[in-house]
Symmetry: C2
Subunit: 361 residues, 2 copies
């Protein structure tokens, strides 16, 4: 483990590098107008893929569950599909969402705010598999191994993450083979993906091939080095776990293709958006035009693990305006108005700001 | 028509702007490992969307075919689906693919090379609809109107493009409602899209609502201002039409996440890729390691309008290497080794270059 490597990327100020552009072209955000869909359609769900998408054959794929277990398992897709299945509607956000708004910023995927989506995942509850295998009393973590392999921070590894047994057995955690009623797509982890409701996306390990029960904390690159909140590169920091409360609106009006600016006609405009938190139910959303905050109206719940729709009415008058939104969850946490510094740009849940030019109707 | 507006974006040198990053995050390329698929899976097909994805209701959608026709048509989705359908396997490339490699570069979507994909489109041949409507003898062009609306170059408009009647009636041109056997996805033009085999993607108008037969050349923004090859901004230029011959390989080895560099183990490596042209069949592909060119082997044809697989064998020895590929089509056209200058970065079909570090096996 080369911990010193974690400081090897100098922060970036100003325009975006070729590496950031390559990451943004290869990965994919959810266009904000897709906030209109309760469940994000195929191909619009955000994707963040560290290495190459593996060429996986679902007919020969096996999921192993081994390590410190009483009865090691090796299951084909057909065997997994024969177990009682469950479908969970779940909002997932990349831990790095909002990184691109920070300055200086960490050299990685420069998400602005589009790294969030909602899907309906179908699979076998992980708790079912853990019960079948029987965890030994010495088990401290379960390590989830994907087959996607590459280098990060100079270390070659396959993507892997761990969870404590209680987190792994939690309600809604699935080994999923379907997304929105269709077989998993290659870019979303086909043929098998772990999905962990409430957590940032890195916990939902794609191309899942092995679940390993271990007695010591997992020290893999993506667990011990990456995905930590740190004020200063190199410090121990705190692991990224559950999603912080966050919200977005679909920007109103029409778009200027290159300037990426919004233009709307004067009049009453209904603003709609979504709010979510991995820590507790969304209890309120505020909406502001030019710094004047009002309460937004919450739509009906879409389920415990899914974002919540909200709407607000905006009396748009000609001129330049700034719209913002801000959610609060059941823990009392609320979004900050400005990004909270993080050395690697994780967990930026600061209030969205949308500039709109209003013209005479 | 404000022709002067076309010069209003100063060219960019060096690092990428916030606007370019926003375009790259919102749009989406095909990761090059997806060259392994004959038909690009859902969600991996590239997308280039000028404005917001419209909220379309397939149940109320009507396609109008009017203007200079004997019998104007207004067809629902059900009526269109009741007509004899055809499926066309078709490679589509964005006219701006490769723009991001040019210097200086035009401020727009900064594609490196990933703006190409192949899909199977199903729909009614446009020729069928044109016959039913009966074009009057004065028709010079057919204008295809999408409902996606926004501003470009300071002009508010809905996306629209035109074709001459003979081009529109050509074999394989469809009004498509399905892609890869599934209903069109919102980002690919649901519920209806024109698809024009052989042409750059701008001809395949998404969210198609109206086909208008007209007697004069269409002067819309996306036809007369944008999508022209020009050496100097402001000159008349030549319209972008059919795809130039082009090819890509799937980079070998594994990836370094941030450096975006490839690392492979020494030994014999099979390099695989795809080649395509909108002007004639691909007749050959050459592959080079460190400037030494050899003939690649062509796979069987996937159809007249689809890319052609190719493979080459590379004896990888430790060190730093540059791999390239270069295709030739039946017209004798071959890819240039370096980008050919275009003021707006269109049609860059220069030979792909892939840097690979080979380590001892």
């Amino acid at each position: 483990m080369q911990k010193s490597e974690q400081t090897s990327r100098p922060p970036i100020v100003g325009r975006y590098t070729a590496e950031e552009l390559a990451l943004a072209s290869r990965n994919s955000g959810m266009p904000l107008e897709a906030l209109r869909y309760d469940v994000t359609p195929a191909g619009l769900h955000y994707r963040l893929i560290h290495f190459d998408i593996p060429a996986a054959d679902e007919f020969t794929w096996r999921l192993r569950l081994d390590g410190l277990v009483e009865r090691p398992l090796g299951l084909s897709l057909d065997q997994l599909r024969a177990l009682p299945a469950r479908t969970v509607r779940m909002t997932m956000e990349c831990a790095g969402n909002g990184r691109g708004q920070m300055s200086p910023r960490y050299p990685s995927m420069p998400w602005m705010e589009e790294g969030v989506s909602t899907a309906e995942w179908t699979g076998v509850p992980l708790a079912t598999l853990l019960e079948r295998a029987g965890l030994k009393s010495t088990v401290r973590e379960l390590v989830f191994h994907g087959v996607d392999r590459g280098l990060d921070r100079g270390i070659e590894h396959a993507f892997a993450r761990s969870l404590a047994p209680a987190e792994a057995a939690a309600d809604g955690v699935l080994v999923a083979w379907a997304m929105n009623g269709q077989p998993l797509l290659p870019q979303h982890g086909a043929p098998l993906r772990l999905v962990v409701p409430g957590w940032y996306g890195m916990a939902s390990v794609k191309w899942l091939a092995r679940i390993e029960a271990v007695s010591a904390p997992f020290e893999g690159v993506q667990q011990a080095l990456s995905y930590h909140f740190r004020k200063v590169a190199g410090e121990k920091g705190a692991p990224c776990t559950r999603m912080r409360v966050n919200s977005l609106m679909a920007p109103p009006g029409i778009l200027d293709f290159y300037a990426r600016k919004r233009i709307a006609a004067a009049g009453r405009i209904e603003i709609r958006g979504r709010a979510w938190s991995g820590s507790g139910a969304v209890t309120g959303v505020s909406f502001a035009s030019d710094g004047k905050w009002t309460d937004a109206e919450l739509d009906a719940s879409l389920g415990e693990h899914a974002w919540r729709g909200w709407r607000a009415s905006w009396d748009a008058v000609p001129g330049e305006h700034e719209l913002r939104c801000r959610a609060t969850d059941a823990t009392g946490a609320t979004q900050p108005l400005e990004p909270v510094w993080d050395a690697a740009g994780f967990g930026n849940n600061s209030s969205q700001s949308v500039a709109v030019t209003v013209r005479e109707a």
